[in-house]
């Protein structure tokens, strides 16, 4: 167990997560029949928690990565990954209902799926299967009704900051499509809050600058942000 702690930097997570991770890693490193079921359970717990807790959903990708690596290394398995992805797919299919029921859950879901896209690579490449779904989520966030909610705009720009460049490499055309919506929203949509406008302007500049902010832009947007 001590080796595992070092290998996977478990201490960097909070206590609850540490417990969860230890369960999963224990099940992986000392395999027996029940462990298949345990990994499925673990993946379900992670997904459920990600949908409830926004802070967790930002970290969940890294947690999943840790477990996927462990399983692949110890017994060539991918029970965890498979179950995680299929759960994600279910949530994706039901995303519109989720959004109507709870904006927070919807935002958590988008954060989570983008996080998974960021961390879970396949032979060092992003998962192709997730590209369209992620774009679909972001395109949804770029719709007029969503742009009116600061919560959703915030989520949108955050995800684009984190994975925008990777997404664009996978499908430039879709990214163009998304940014047309953002530009139009910024220029034409009435009733947008000034914060929403600011966020949109920043992300437009960010992408235009090659997914980075020039020094001047950095000063413009973040000069009043405390370090």
């Amino acid at each position: 167990m001590e080796n595992l702690k070092e290998d996977y930097k478990i201490q960097s997570f909070d206590l609850e997560t540490q417990k969860l991770l230890k369960t999963a890693l224990k099940a992986i490193s000392m395999p027996s029949e029940p462990s298949t079921v345990d990994l499925e359970k673990v993946s379900n717990v992670i997904v459920d928690q990600s949908l409830k807790d926004q802070v967790f959903s930002k970290e969940a990708g890294r947690i999943c990565y840790t477990i996927v690596q462990a399983e692949a290394k110890h017994n060539n398995g991918n029970v965890f990954r498979r179950n995680l992805l299929n759960r994600l797919q279910l949530e994706f299919v039901a995303r519109e209902e989720t959004r109507l029921r709870s904006l927070q859950e919807w935002v958590c879901f988008v954060t989570f799926i983008c996080n998974v896209f960021d961390y879970l690579k396949v032979n060092n490449m992003p998962m192709v299967a997730l590209v369209h779904p992620v774009f679909d989520c972001l395109l949804r966030l770029a719709q007029p009704d969503s742009l009116n909610n600061e919560e959703e705009v915030d989520c949108l720009v955050l995800q684009l900051h984190r994975i925008g460049d990777q997404l664009e490499k996978m499908n430039g055309q879709k990214m163009d499509e998304l940014f047309y919506l953002l530009r139009d929203g910024f220029l034409l949509q009435e009733g947008l809050s000034s914060m929403a406008r600011l966020l949109l302007l920043e992300i437009l500049e960010f992408r235009a600058g090659g997914w980075t902010l020039s020094d001047t832009a950095q000063k413009y947007y973040y000069s009043e942000v405390s370090d």
């Binding site: 717990v45 459920d48 396949v122």
Partner: protein, 272 residues
Amino acid sequence: MSFRQKSRLTDAEYNGDENRNRGPSRWSNCRKRGADGSMRSNGDLDSTGTSDLKKSNVNHRPVSFTTPESEGPVPRCADWGSEVETDERRSSVRRDMQRRRILTADFGPRERKNSSGSSESRDSPVPGEVMEEDEEVLMRRQKQITYGKNTLAYDRYIKEVPKHLRQPGVHPKTPNKFKKYSRRSWDQQIKLWKVKIHAWDPPALEGSELQAIEEVDLDDVMDIELDFPELDSDSSAQPLKVSKASSSQPDSSQGTPSKMMKIDASVDLDMA
């Protein structure tokens, strides 16, 4: 006879008595041919009633009534888990092919130092030998190999016997997916390979182990030219298994106790 009666009942369930004469069943909308193979016009009633089933015997279909050939197998399930697995397999196969090409190029001009015959290739490509290049075939083979390696038994095997200590014939060797083999030959190699790996199954599973060995029909294997030793009958396979199982006893020190261990269920409560 009984089949038709059963189908009659099923049809009644599907259509319901009230629907019987209303028109095409819900499945017939998209079909451009009736069950006898002839083209339907748009307004045709496609009766999926009992009379159809009697005619649906495959032998009566005209030759034209076959599924047109497509580019190849389309994955039946569109779930992300499988999709990602397939993608991973594809990129692994392509990477392996690239490596193989590089190795072949490397060995081309020089004489091979490995003095053993070409059948004992140890994965190094023989220059001039034709490789299996069909991606579909390689993917299928890789999938079979991955399934075989995804087992506790294989895990224990590679931990117990490092590659350089493997004895040909005694220790199972992964079939080389790049070599040209017939489909049947390849499938048999995989089957045999997996059977041999079972010798390293964890001790607690001995009951099911026996079952696995007995289910394999080893008589089929006799005419295939392989590196593996001839297996005459079921009985000769058993001593092999027993000796390996007993030699792995020392490893079981962490086997039995961990299987008895219950995974902490308190996680659920805490996370709720």
